[in-house]
Symmetry: C2
């Protein structure tokens, strides 16, 4: 930590850094290996109207990631998420969600298989540089919400075989593995459940990085204490800037970093700052969902087009109120100040609700690099933030697994 | 049945049928919709050295199906098999094989995804004609050996979602679902086990055709008695021509047909006729497998190439002894004589051990059509044999599922 403070002081005194031209900053961004730790885009891959190879516009279809925009925004890849929403805790629901998760994993694999010159599945840390060096995008697979594993931990091996290398035990609500940060009930397990502790051991045994995002503070503490390798927060902010259960305080942040962990800063507006209420928009959305229903997985292309068009009109009439890029950077800079650039990364929750006014999709990602360079962070710091840190965790997870298997 | 006998008599008396030229017969073959009920090729899809789009030669790499040879042999598609060999009956083995089966299903789906202009996944009877009409090959998915479902019948839904539409409960040995025709122990369940009976009900509920191939006679009887829709034998022969446990007698054959079922005739040489022993070859193969091991799923391309080369040399030195095309046709013609062309199809066990001297891969499939035309079967009979019959079963299975869901 001391070393970091000294480096920062030197950088602040170094006027040459301030003289980076805009183009120079973009060049730096483009030569970095850039990974986002939480890409929710696989939820779009299973939609009949979405083509990852075509450029979309957030204004028109609310999507935030595709190959053309990855090229524009200089994003080399990241962790592509198998997400299932929290449902009831019973055998039938577990099995149904297991199937959904398997099909989602398959959708990610299919995206790679049908675009073999564009994407490549990555499973070890070394893959990232190798894949970007041959001009392809990096596809690690992660899971947000371990719920679809049910009570059958052997399914973690199944998903590992399908490429899974990062796992978050919970989402919005408490589940069989532990406590969520946002369940109205509060903590019921005191962090991880007994099954959740077994899940941690199994993830360690396989070499899967544990992700505390969405976890209750007590769950994150349990992860840090129990996991044999450092923990990630793939998309989380700081309570110091905005006190929200999805953010963590500086004490826990330091504990995470001291244990070798990394926090990837979330750009989910409602977690960045207090936003004004928007009752007309809320009402309009409620009406929209009543009209279309929420059984989205059964929608055909035409229904999707109609829904998108309706959402587009709704957005024009009742615009979303978003946090600003500055709000996002306040989280980013505070976290950097507390733990330094060896423990920070980017996880903006793209296609999962992330985005701020000036950065509503990945095409504007160079803004982050530019701003951090302006703040005096070095290209090496940026290299750590944009990928070295998460790759370090991935390597540590694998090294541990190799040592015990 | 009477109608069939009369039609056959008329055909025999019709001299014009005998005047079909060779080219005319090939033309008939090419305009038929041709499906093989049991393509074991997916076992090759997971090998790093196999490319379904390239033409291979059985002499050199022992493969029997690929797209160029489908074109040559006029094969429009069939049921592509998820096969796992029978292993121990315990939870760990079930889970490991569940994963293997899931990955195999994914390999089939991937074959389709990466070749969208060549293959298409088929799930209902109507798909077959639609897909062939647009010049693509038909990919139905089946499972040989329900063993990887373990004791968790909900996995049948998982595989159904992955496209599964045909299911054989057992393979070489008795398992949790019932008795095999070739287990040295003989029948231990008296046919289907209690879990096997639940499996039948679940397959019916989903609309999956039940396949009695490899099943003990008692299991086939159970399937016929319990299944709500007609049963298939996807690759089986007749005991009347060669008395082997993998073949069935005429009584059971008639029972199958009377219940609306269909038998697809197997071309696995050792089940077609008594073959002489070949101890030198057996010894040579034993040595080969000792040298290479049997952990094939871990072989890289080079090891596969070396193994293929070694097998090629072995085959030249100790040629395989195969049944003849005539042996195959004796089974085919006897079965046709007993149950008629509405209850017979082709399931030659390609890439699963099938093949006879004159027909060692699918490129020679027109031989079957030609021979049956010579025997006096009509183009309509051939259309039934080559696809209508199995598609009828598929439709019946779906109609039943629709009626109860």
């Amino acid at each position: 930590m001391f070393k970091f403070v000294i480096v920062k002081l030197v950088v602040f005194l170094c006027i040459s850094c301030a003289s980076h031209t805009e183009q120079h900053k973009v060049n730096i961004h483009n030569r970095l290996l850039t990974l986002d730790a939480h890409l929710d885009t696989p939820a779009l891959l299973v939609r009949p109207d979405f083509d990852i190879m075509q450029e979309h516009s957030h204004d028109h279809d609310f999507s935030q990631v595709d190959w053309p925009r990855m090229e524009k925004g200089g994003l080399d890849g990241g962790f592509w998420v198998i997400y299932t929403p929290q449902g009831p805790l019973n055998a039938d629901a577990y099995k149904s969600n297991r199937d959904t998760a398997l099909l989602r994993a398959m959708a990610i694999q299919t995206m790679v298989s049908v675009n073999p010159d564009t994407f490549e599945l990555a499973t070890v840390a070394e893959d990232a540089h190798r894949i970007t060096n041959i001009g392809k995008k990096v596809v690690y697979i992660s899971m947000e919400n371990a719920y679809p594993l049910g009570e059958d931990l052997s399914l973690l091996t199944t998903f590992y075989k399908l490429g899974l290398r990062m796992l978050g035990p919970v989402h919005f609500k408490n589940n069989q593995f532990g406590d969520s940060s946002t369940d109205p009930q509060g903590s019921i397990w005191g962090g991880l459940s007994p099954l959740g502790k077994q899940l941690v051991a199994e993830a360690n045994r396989l070499g899967i990085v544990l992700d505390g995002s969405h976890g209750h503070d007590l769950l994150l503490e349990d992860l840090i204490n129990l996991s044999k390798t450092p923990v990630i927060l793939s998309h989380t902010g700081t309570k110091t800037i905005y006190d929200h259960p999805r953010n963590i305080d500086d004490t826990l942040l330091k504990k995470l970093a001291d244990s070798g962990g990394v926090i990837h800063v979330n750009a989910y507006s409602a977690y960045l700052t207090k936003l004004p209420n928007n009752p007309e928009r809320q009402k309009a959305y409620q009406d929209l969902f009543e009209k279309f229903g929420r059984n989205w997985s059964t929608f055909d292309t035409e229904t999707w087009q109609a829904l998108k068009q309706a959402r587009y009109q709704l957005d024009k009439k009742h615009p979303a109120i978003k946090a600003s890029f500055e709000d996002y950077m306040q989280h980013f800079l505070h976290i950097l100040n507390v733990v330094g650039p060896k423990h920070v990364g980017v996880g903006a929750d793209w296609d999962g609700g992330g985005g701020v006014v000036e950065m509503m999709d990945i095409s504007t990602l160079p803004l982050i690099t530019e701003r951090l360079l302006n703040e005096g962070y070095s290209e090496q710091d940026l290299a750590d933030i944009w990928s070295n840190n998460v790759l370090r965790l991935l390597k540590q997870a694998k090294d541990y697994a190799d040592s015990v298997n």
